[in-house]
């Protein structure tokens, strides 16, 4: 029976990080007593007194503070209440944290948790996916776990890493996704074949993995075997695994939840087109959200993001080419 949720995995990883390393502390809005807006730090303030702190509503200063603490040898985990609000701390992330090692040879071991992605009714400012924005900047590691196992292991790995990590955890998966346990884990930077196939490759990550897997299942009923690659980390991006998959299938669809202009999905297409043009039997395709802010009403929201239906539809076009 599946018992552990994606959210519980995140809480458990933080619990273990706090338990195993006295240099780890948690910093975020409403996280100490209240346990966080999503309860990702539930009880941790009580279990680790003096290690879990409520911050003022100051995303810029929260990140700056974590950077200063990391320079001194601490390993902070900062919770942004919603990924969307990290834009207020953007400068500290991309200019201070991301440049510190390169400029000064001083590692910056901070983990910034971004509750990401859309859920019904959340609207334009509580639904964003920021991985593509941050991946653009050198000096950051961008993780996008799609499974309970990855949420757990990758968060533990993030805290151990000597570089700033943007940990994009998907809110839609918090309660819906369950697993029996945490399994073995995989190294950061390696993509995973989530479903093997030979007719087409879908490269995706985070919540879109699950929509893509459902779409692949739909196409199986039509006789197609679609391979689904879970990137796991947007940056670094495991180009080898992507190219190997495209070599098997000759067709590529890249699915992401963030906005369509540029970004992680474009990066996959650019790499495949540039390095494996000769392997392609069809033009590579991308599917992202629509190019508008994220809508509030569920009717609009479902049509704004890629879904099983829209991924299946794109796959059929790709397979017909």
């Amino acid at each position: 029976m599946s018992t552990i949720t994606y959210l519980e995995a995140i809480r458990e990883a933080q619990y273990e990080a706090l338990r195993d390393n006295p240099d780890v502390f948690l910093y975020g809005q409403d996280i100490a007593t209240f346990g966080g807006a999503f309860k990702a730090t539930k009880n941790l303030g009580r279990e680790f007194p003096g290690r879990v702190f409520d911050s003022p509503i100051s995303e810029d200063a929260m990140i700056g503070m974590a950077i200063g603490a990391a320079v001194e040898g601490a390993r902070p985990i900062v919770e942004m209440q919603f990924a969307d609000f990290s834009s207020v701390g953007f400068n500290q992330i991309v200019n201070q944290a991301a440049t510190l090692y390169w400029r000064t040879n001083t590692p910056c071991p901070i983990t910034i948790r971004l509750p990401s992605g859309g859920t019904a009714g959340s609207g334009p400012f509580h639904s964003q996916s920021m991985e593509s924005i941050y991946a653009h900047y050198p000096g950051l590691v961008i993780l996008t776990p799609a499974t309970v196992e990855d949420a757990y292991w990758m968060l533990l790995d993030s805290v151990k890493l000597d570089d700033p990590v943007i940990f994009c955890e998907h809110k839609f998966l918090y309660y819906h996704l369950k697993s029996d346990g945490f399994g073995q884990g995989m190294p950061i930077g390696k993509a995973r074949i989530a479903r093997p196939g030979r007719d087409a490759t879908v490269v995706t990550y985070s919540a879109m993995l699950h929509e893509s897997l459902k779409a692949a299942e739909e196409l199986r009923l039509d006789g197609y075997e679609v391979e689904v690659v879970d990137l796991r980390s947007v940056k670094p991006m495991d180009t080898d695994t992507i190219l190997a998959s495209v070599a098997r299938t000759g067709r590529l669809l890249v699915v992401g939840e963030s906005f369509p202009w540029g970004g992680a999905t474009s990066e996959v297409v650019a790499r495949v087109a540039g390095e494996a043009f000769h392997l392609l039997d069809a033009p590579p395709m991308r599917l992202n959200s629509k190019d508008t802010p994220i809508p509030y009403h569920p009717n609009l929201w479902k049509a704004h993001r890629p879904t099983t239906a829209s991924i299946s539809s794109e796959l059929r076009k790709l397979l017909r080419y």
């Binding site: 006295p22 240099d23 502390f25 003096g50 290690r51 911050s55 003022p56 100051s58 995303e59 810029d60 200063a61 929260m62 990140i63 700056g64 503070m65 974590a66 950077i67 200063g68 603490a69 990391a70 320079v71 001194e72 040898g73 601490a74 902070p76 207020v88 400068n91 500290q92 200019n95 201070q96 991301a98 440049t99 510190l100 090692y101 390169w102 400029r103 000064t104 040879n105 001083t106 590692p107 050198p138 000096g139 590691v141 890493l161 000597d162 570089d163 950061i188 930077g189 940056k235 670094p236 991006m237 180009t239």
Partner: protein, 348 residues
């Protein structure tokens, strides 16, 4: 009650000998800073050696050095800003590191990857500023926070600087508020030099005096004549004593005038001549040297000797740096992550 009623300006309670010691230490840092910056200015004007801009602290040395001498290298945390050459020297940064960073040689702390005033050694508690004003405040606060968390704070103090313009940023507000909430031992120097690049104060803020803001943040507020080294030394001694004693952040506002442009590329023609002849426009180095002689702490011969020594030190540093290697793009590792295995396009 007006906000000014809450402004703390306690008496200097150290011995006359301590004051003399601090004053002369600061004065010598000012002389070295001015000498070094004059050299940088002429190198810039001559062209060829310094690639980027040159940003000087002329007119702000007294205010900067008076803060810097309160800091102990390797023990305290310092996040200086653009016009803190004197404070950097006072903190313990060797002159040659300034020269190395301006000339971009690989032997410098920034190894040609960053330049001029963007330099530091974070592991030594010496933060390297980025250009985004106000953003260093929370970083210095975080370093203090970590020390308290790990039980190593002791009598550590942190210090950082900002100008009148920088106080308008959200980062400054967020950072100072956070430091106040955490009651960290932090001294924030606000050099009110009347201009943010070319923008005068009346286009920058609407309060009567920036020190009034201290009340709003719940931090100690101190005002000082930034052209008066004696006054600056006294006020920073007090501010640091209070911060180290657990009174929380202290904000020191110094009133002065930037004696030059924003950078050496800027002739500051927007500063009216009349303003240059006001009290704020007087040269703090001239004032400090006069004070030293009047107090009987130094003779004109001492001053001449210190200037001469400073010129020698600067000339030797330049001669040395001129022989040092510049970065080679073919030897650069082009790696922005410390974890080698995660760098794309490079084998672990």
């Amino acid at each position: 009650m007006t906000s000014a009623d809450k402004i703390v300006t306690p008496a200097f309670n150290e011995s006359a000998e301590d004051l003399r010691h601090d004053f002369l230490k600061a004065l010598r840092c000012m002389i070295l800073s001015r000498t070094l910056e004059e050299k940088l200015s002429s190198l810039y004007r001559a062209g060829g050696r310094i690639v980027g801009g040159v940003y000087l602290g002329r007119g702000q040395e007294a205010f900067s050095a008076a803060a810097g001498i309160q800091l102990r290298w390797g023990k305290d945390i310092f996040g200086p800003l653009i016009r803190d050459q004197a404070g950097r020297i006072a903190f313990g940064e060797p002159v040659i590191d300034t020269m190395r960073t301006y000339l971009g040689v690989v032997t410098g702390p920034m190894r040609g990857r960053d330049g001029n005033i963007h330099r530091g050694q974070p592991k030594q508690g010496y933060m390297a500023m980025i250009s985004h004003l106000g953003s260093l405040l929370s970083v210095v606060a975080g370093a203090l926070f970590a020390r308290r968390l790990r039980g190593t704070l002791g009598d550590t103090a942190g210090a950082t600087s900002i100008g009148d313009g920088g106080t308008s940023t959200g980062a400054f507000h967020e950072g100072l508020n956070l430091a106040a909430v955490e009651k960290l031992p932090l001294v924030v120097s606000v050099a009110n030099n009347q201009y943010a690049y070319s923008t005068p104060n009346h286009r920058q803020y609407a309060c009567e005096d920036l020190v009034q803001r201290a009340v709003g943040y719940g931090v100690g507020g101190h005002s000082v004549d930034g052209t008066d080294l004696l006054a600056c030394v006294k006020i920073f001694r007090t501010a640091f004593q209070k911060a180290r004693a657990g009174d929380g952040p202290q904000m020191v506002v110094g009133r002065l005038l930037r004696l030059g442009g924003h950078g050496e590329h800027d002739d500051a023609s927007y500063v009216p001549d009349l303003q240059k002849h006001t009290h704020e426009g007087r040269d703090c180095l001239v004032v400090a040297q006069k004070q030293a002689v009047e107090q009987g702490w130094a003779t004109p011969q001492d001053l001449e000797k210190w200037h001469k020594e400073a010129r020698l030190e600067v000339d030797q540093a330049l001669a040395m740096v001129t022989k040092e290697p510049v970065p080679d793009p073919y030897r650069e590792n082009w790696r922005a992550l410390s974890t080698e295995g995660l760098v794309e396009g490079q084998e672990p």
